[in-house]
């Protein structure tokens, strides 16, 4: 009566001839479910940020301004209502987002990100100025940019590119500006401005009379001298011809002009004041300036002019220009009135 103590389990195992049986149903289920759950969690974890940042850049255009800022214009496909845009720096000005219908979209800029309410647009256009891409050392400006996509870059007017870390895909010249098509990735471009408006302060240059300076000074002097000589010659010849003409006309008038009495006989109906004018002209060699007549008879310009024209109509005098003045001359071919 000394019963042997044997564990029930042991007893069972012994009964099964030493084989170990394990329930596999639960393990299999656990092995399948655990990776699925894990994968699901990973997908969920990845999907949450993607919901707000999924996008693709259609175009990216940069314009470097002469003040060192850069204007960025980008057309982006978006896939969520609250789109988070990575900006290329934190010094942002004039940020504008426009939906595909042309409506202005609201956006908040936080550091180097902008959160844009797309209002259901599948693509948006963003424009902004950024001050983080250009640095300056001395006269050399440096553009540094790490682009996620291919882009175009318009250099400022009168800029001269003096160094590029990468070669562009394409280059074209638009007026005075150079437009580069660049690949994604980091790019560095050094440039200066070609026209320096302020002249550098240097020591006064030593004055030397070289050929060009001499030409600059002597040329106009020679030209003026030649011109003056021509002018003098012309004046001389003109005055001598004038003297000759005057002399000859005086001689002609002396020889051929009629005297006052003859004229009065031929024109008996002449006014008395006109007769006085004829007398004066006849006494002065047959011709006088109209201004002399005005001085003599103290008549205003219009009155004297009417008188002279009246005499001209009567074919008594002829009027011509001499030294820019009206010369009144007695005619020598006066005929009797009909």
């Amino acid at each position: 009566m000394n019963p042997k103590i044997v564990s029930i389990q042991r007893k069972e195992l012994l009964q099964e001839d030493g084989m170990l049986f394990v329930r596999t149903d639960g393990i299999l289920e656990t092995m399948v479910k655990a990776p699925l759950i894990l994968a699901g969690l990973i997908v969920v974890a990845l999907t949450i940020p993607m919901q707000t940042s999924f996008s693709s850049t259609r175009t990216l255009d940069l314009i470097i301004q002469s003040d060192g800022s850069t204007h960025i214009s980008s057309h982006i496909d978006v896939d969520s209502s609250n789109f988070e845009l990575n900006l290329f720096g934190s010094s942002i000005d004039n940020f504008i987002a426009i939906g595909e219908s042309g409506s202005l979209l609201s956006g908040d800029i936080i550091d180097d990100k902008a959160i844009v309410d797309t209002l259901g647009s599948s693509s948006i256009t963003v424009d902004y100025d950024i001050h983080d891409l250009i640095s300056k050392e001395g006269r050399v400006w440096t553009f540094s940019f790490d682009s996620p996509s291919n882009y175009s870059l318009l250099m400022p007017k009168n800029s001269v590119i003096i160094g590029m870390s990468v070669l562009p895909n394409n280059m074209e010249q638009i007026d005075e500006q150079i437009k580069l098509e660049l690949f994604s990735g980091p790019t560095q471009i050094d440039y200066i401005f070609g026209i320096i408006l302020e002249s550098p302060t240097t020591n006064q240059p030593e004055y030397t009379l070289d050929f060009l300076t001499a030409g600059l000074i002597i040329g106009p002097i020679i030209a003026i001298s030649i011109g003056a000589a021509i002018l003098f010659k012309k004046k001389q010849s003109k005055s001598s011809s004038q003297v000759y003409v005057a002399e000859s006309s005086e001689k002609q008038s002396e020889s051929k002009s009629l005297d006052a009495d003859t004229i009065f006989n031929l024109r008996p109906t002449m006014r008395e004041d006109d007769k006085e004018i004829i007398k004066f002209i006849s006494e002065n060699g047959g011709q006088v300036f109209e201004s002399d007549l005005r001085k003599k008879f103290l008549q205003p310009r219009t009155t004297m002019w009417r008188a002279v024209k009246r005499l001209e109509r009567l074919d008594i005098v002829e009027i011509y220009k001499k030294d820019l003045q009206n010369m009144v001359k007695l005619r020598n071919d006066l005929e009797e009135e009909n």
């Binding site: 001269v160 003096i162 160094g163 070669l167 394409n170 600059l216 040329g219 030209a223 021509i230």
Partner: protein, 116 residues
């Protein structure tokens, strides 16, 4: 009047003939000649107008990989192995003039078609 007009014309012509070069700014007149272009690289000779203010010139090739730079005090330079940008035959070079204080007086970009 004719005399005055003739005189003016004479002065104008004299000024143009004698004074034109004297008024030229640095790098106003640049001449470029290309030779030996084999589709990959070429020899480029650059000549520019003399200027009394300029004492030193820096000439560089931006389209060359790597970028190259030369200095001269003369009025011309010959660049060997100038390469164009990819997908074309245009090379980009530049000339900078410096005064005696090593300050930049002026600079000019040169876009050269090597396939002339």
């Amino acid at each position: 009047m004719k005399v005055i007009a003739s005189l003016g014309l004479l002065i104008l012509m004299t000024s143009v003939i004698f004074g034109n070069q004297a008024f030229a700014e640095p790098l106003d007149n640049i001449k470029i000649s290309v030779s030996n272009y084999d589709g990959d690289s070429a020899t480029v000779k650059i000549t520019w107008n003399h200027d009394d203010k300029a004492t030193n010139y820096k000439i560089g090739c931006v389209s060359c990989n790597p970028n190259t730079v030369h200095f001269t005090t003369g009025n011309s330079i010959t660049f060997n192995n100038v390469t164009p940008f990819p997908n074309g035959s245009f090379a980009m070079l530049y000339v900078i003039t410096y005064d005696s204080q090593s300050e930049i007086i002026s600079a000019k970009q040169l876009i050269v078609n090597l396939n002339q």
